[in-house]
């Protein structure tokens, strides 16, 4: 969480001890649970929340409650609290999603919701989810999220929405399908009989039928109005006189009555009510802090207000947190603004101090902003940023800073720096340098305020680190190195920014084609992350190390490195966190290269699912491309195309690392060649902007190799000597470039393309050394697919080599030939499993090397599977439909990683599950 959780939002309100029982409405609510949605839509003060709390007290099933406020218009916050509310009835549900929701990268909301829905469908019993105050939501993404949830709502869930205005949902359609029931103002309004019961029995008044009718007419059965009228009359000697003047007035009911009620309270209570109306929620000590009146006790006043029923609502069972009824609070607040507008800012300031002292940064900052005390807000943001996990909270921190006027921010170097870092992360790159300059400008002033030299170095170190990252994105590599070195010399030993800096430096060396330096830089990034015990940074840094080892053709070492990264990504509870997606796809891709396709598939599918949740577009694109190559290896071209399309979709939304753009084009060209789509290859060549003359770029991972591939494909197909000769000379130069960089992997690829070009030119015998060179480079790493993926032409070439009995690589050549002869050797399950990945439909948690735990129901099914009963018989025994039974078995099979009943039993017995 970017902030401490407000548990009060999840509190299920208890019914009041004395209320009007409303059997007619309770009956309708009971009927309503048979459809998807109950909508209670009525203006403020119609007793919506009271009715729902009365109903659920006798409902007898678990209830998850979420009271919404304006800040929930942020879909991330909305879903976070939704998960937290569900966790009150099912511990641990959506825990993995909470990690994902902290990610500063754009979210794939539908995927997250799908995952949540899947987890909801594992909740064993029927339950109710209440969204109260839904009118606070004024955001299309949140409305759409809710519509999606309703559309795919699991049967055990019933949703209840209480709101002052109809929500942005397809209500007409739901009504037509009988999917919702509604209670509206006319239903909630007190009937004359209910008004009589309320006034005389509940409120203990003794009014005549005539008086009751008059009050009912004047308030039109409006519950809040009747309640305030009753409280007024409780303190009135002349109830009849009160009713006469009240009913004879045109004045707004609440205005009239509030004045009556306030006049009956002591002066100190009146002051209390007005001054505390600035608070969204309050507790005794908070009230004491803002009132500054030692003669009044906040706690006992709150309890008194609750006792006299004065529109105050407890938010927990301990009589700690309360809030006013929203309508009542608005009335009080308006009075406060009119009568004591001069005090309002001071009250907010006191509230801000109190929240800060209790470590509620968000409210401390909000009240400081309301007090227009921007310096205080700035200090609080700075403190919050130092306490919170900076990177996870970058978005929240940036928003807080944006709410402070620029000239105040400019006086606080740290705020300028956080803002610049936030913008670098969010891809708003134009603003990064602007705020770094502002930070620089503020330094001399900040330092006169007693900040030490250490502090100065710390600030300058952060600025240099951000500049290093900005320089990489701006393709200014020398600057990135310069700023990176500067940052490392300035930053203190245990600072997360050292890791970020080392990553930037590693990227810079990569772009310069200095593979050893790059590997070392990434290794020091990993070391820095481990020093700060920052695992979410250590995992990607370690993967980058592995990627540099792959470039050197050291696949076995890379394998170890990725394993180590995976190990770091396993949480203390033994579950893989989403950041495990990165090492998983990298390991999967290694297994694909080694032609261990079954292992590759398992890791790639799992890794891509985790990457979707991780929400980091670079890693996700990498995952889709690895899957594309995998699908091509198993001969599933549709699957390959689909994954390529998914990668394209992500790339269209955000900018990804240059090496991934190059890999994307590589996959595209390979696929076209497999599909004999030479037209597309030709068009690509015309539009790629690459030419044999244009300079090579390590930054783009030598993307001229793609051009060479296109030339070889087209040249071989059209038997064009010109194209092939162009390819050969380009490949020669590329070989030198890869050699200078120490990029063995690229060298192998280049030599392979060169061999194919020579073969197409009919000159294969003239240069047998080229293929041998490739084989010699590839053999230590155990490369397989890099040859096999080139198809029949390559097979013939290797076969020829294998005839040479004395050759030291003969064994390796035979191994490769064997791999050629089993095309599509991959498992047949590839397509359906993939389908699940794309819909994000399966469960996201993976226990490291241990299978997903089965639900109680699934265990029950599993035990029956061990019997001799047939499917329909088991369904009958469990009193479920055959489809439900099938869903259970399917889930069991997925969790156990098996395809049939017998294997499931065997696996379960092996693992002592049954």
């Amino acid at each position: 969480m970017s902030e401490p959780l407000l548990l009060t939002k999840l509190y299920v309100p208890l019914p009041r001890p004395k209320i009007v029982l409303r059997p007619r409405l309770i009956g309708r609510l009971n009927e309503g649970v048979h459809c998807k949605l109950t909508l209670i839509s009525a203006p403020a003060g119609f007793g919506k929340t009271t009715l729902v709390s009365e109903w659920i007290a006798s409902y007898g099933r678990p209830v998850a409650w979420l009271s919404l406020d304006e800040r929930d218009n942020d879909p991330t916050r909305f879903i976070t609290y939704l998960v937290k509310a569900l966790q009150t009835i099912q511990a641990g549900i959506g825990e993995g999603l909470l990690v994902v929701l902290q990610s500063p990268q754009p979210l794939q909301i539908e995927t997250i919701l799908t995952t949540l829905l899947n987890e909801i469908s594992n909740i064993p019993e029927n339950f109710l989810l209440v969204l109260d105050d839904y009118h606070s939501i004024d955001s299309q993404p949140v409305d759409q999220s809710l519509a999606f949830l309703i559309e795919h709502q699991p049967p055990q869930m019933h949703l209840l929405i209480a709101t002052r205005e109809d929500p942005g949902l397809p209500l007409a359609r739901m009504r037509a399908r009988g999917q919702c029931i509604e209670l509206r103002a006319t239903d909630l309004r007190f009937s004359p009989a209910e008004a009589a019961e309320f006034l005389n029995r509940v409120m203990g008044l003794n009014l005549s039928a005539e008086d009751i009718a008059a009050l009912e007419t004047r308030t039109e059965g409006w519950v809040a109005g009747l309640q305030l009228a009753a409280i007024s009359m409780q303190g009135h000697k002349d109830a009849a006189g009160f009713i006469q003047s009240f009913t004879g007035s045109h004045r707004f009911v609440m205005d009239y009555l509030l004045e009556e009620v306030l006049h009956q309270q002591s002066e100190s209570i009146q002051t209390f009510l007005l001054q505390t109306s600035i608070l969204d929620r309050m507790c005794g000590p908070l009230c004491d802090a803002i009132l500054l009146d030692s003669s009044v006790s906040g706690q006992s006043t709150l309890e008194y207000l609750e006792r006299i029923n004065l529109f105050i609502i407890p938010l927990d069972n301990e009589r700690r947190w309360y809030r006013y009824h929203h309508l009542f609070r608005d009335l009080l607040l308006n009075r406060l603004l009119n009568a004591y507008s001069g005090q309002v800012e001071e009250l907010h300031r006191q509230a801000s101090c109190w929240f800060a002292s209790q470590n509620f940064p968000e409210e401390a900052i909000a009240h400081a902003l309301a007090a227009r005390d921007y310096d205080r807000a700035a200090v609080f943001v700075e403190q919050a940023a130092q306490q919170l996990d900076m990177k996870n909270c970058l978005v929240a921190i940036t928003r807080w800073i944006e709410a402070i006027p620029d000239q105040v921010v400019e006086a606080h170097p740290w705020l300028c720096i956080y803002r610049a870092w936030g913008y670098q992360w969010m891809g708003r790159r134009d603003s990064v340098e602007l705020w770094l300059n502002a930070a620089e400008a503020s330094l001399p002033f900040a330092l006169t305020l007693g900040k030490s030299d250490n502090e100065r170095d710390h600030l300058l170190g952060h600025m240099a680190a951000i500049r290093a990252h900005a320089a990489i994105t701006g393709e200014n590599i020398p600057r990135a190195l310069e700023e990176g070195q500067k940052a490392l010399s300035l930053l203190p030993e245990r600072d997360e920014m050292r890791c970020e800096t080392a990553v930037a430096i590693g990227g810079a060396y990569w772009s310069l084609g200095r593979v050893i330096d790059s590997e070392q830089a990434f290794a020091s990034a990993r070391a820095a992350a481990l020093t700060c015990n920052h695992l979410t940074m250590a995992v990607p840094s370690t993967c980058y190390v592995g990627m540099q080892q792959v470039k050197q053709g050291r696949l076995a070492t890379a394998h170890q490195t990725y394993q180590e990264a995976l190990h770091l990504a396993v949480g203390p509870d033994g579950w893989e966190t989403p950041v495990a997606g990165f090492p998983n796809i990298k390991l999967g891709d290694l297994y694909r290269e080694w032609n261990e396709l079954e292992r590759a598939e398992k890791l790639l599918l799992r890794g891509v699912q985790q990457c979707i949740l991780l929400g980091q577009s670079d890693v996700l694109v990498d995952g889709y491309l690895c899957l594309t190559r995998f699908q091509m290896a198993v001969g599933n071209l549709d699957g390959a195309n689909e994954n390529l399309r998914q990668a394209d979709l992500v790339v269209a939304k955000t900018k990804v690392d240059p090496f991934l753009q190059t890999r994307l084009e590589d996959c595209r060209l390979r696929l076209w060649a497999r599909e004999d789509d030479y037209y597309s290859i030709t068009r690509w060549m015309e539009t790629s902007g690459l030419s044999v003359e244009s300079p090579f770029s390590y930054y783009y991972d030598l993307h001229h190799v793609n051009l060479a591939r296109a030339l070889v494909s087209l040249g071989a197909n059209t038997r064009s000597q010109a194209l092939l000769n162009q390819a050969v000379s380009l490949l020669d130069r590329l070989h030198d470039a890869a050699d200078r960089a120490g990029w063995v992997h690229e060298k192998i690829q280049i030599l392979i393309l060169r061999t194919l070009a020579e073969k197409a030119l009919g000159r294969e015998d003239a240069t047998p050394g080229v293929l041998l060179q490739a084989l010699a480079l590839a053999e230590p790493g155990g490369y397989v697919r890099i040859f096999v993926d080139e198809g029949e032409a390559m097979r013939l070439l290797i076969e020829k080599q294998s005839h040479n009995r004395d050759h030291p690589l003969r064994g390796y050549a035979h191994k490769l030939l064997a791999a050629f002869t089993q095309p599509g050797a991959g498992p047949k399950s590839a397509t359906p499993a993939l389908h699940q990945v794309q819909r994000g439909a399966s469960v996201i948690h993976y226990k490291s090397d241990i299978i997903e735990p089965l639900s109680n129901r699934e265990l029950e099914v599993l035990k029956l599977l061990r019997s001799d009963l047939s499917g329909p018989e088991i369904a009958l025994q469990l009193s479920v439909s055959i489809n439900t039974f099938r869903t259970h078995t399917k889930n069991i099979f997925i969790k156990l990683g098996v395809n049939d009943r017998r294997a499931a039993i065997r696996r379960a017995e092996e693992r002592n599950i049954i």
Partner: protein, 90 residues
């Protein structure tokens, strides 16, 4: 209600609106309703009138009406010279 910006709006004069509510509101609600003029009518209704910056501001006002539980009777654009001189009746 028109969604299109009126010619007044284009000339930086925000359009005027009349919002009619059932019941009488005190003048102390003037600030709450962003400086609109509060007129109490003899038929027991309240008329809020004055310039409203744009559609977003109008929806904000209606939300405040909603949050007070005030019965809303009508919302009308109001063409008058008030647009140029919003303070005359305030």
């Amino acid at each position: 209600m028109s969604d299109k910006p009126s010619s007044d709006e284009k000339r930086n004069h925000p359009p005027c609106y009349e919002i009619r509510l059932r019941g009488h509101l005190d003048c102390q609600w003037t600030d709450w309703f962003e400086g609109l003029t509060v007129t109490l009518e003899e038929d027991g209704t309240t008329l809020l009138s004055g310039p409203v910056a744009d559609q977003a501001a109008l929806h904000g006002l209606l939300k405040k009406v909603r949050d007070l539980g005030l019965p809303l009777l009508s919302v009308c654009p109001h063409q008058s010279s008030q647009a140029a001189e919003p303070d005359v009746n305030a």
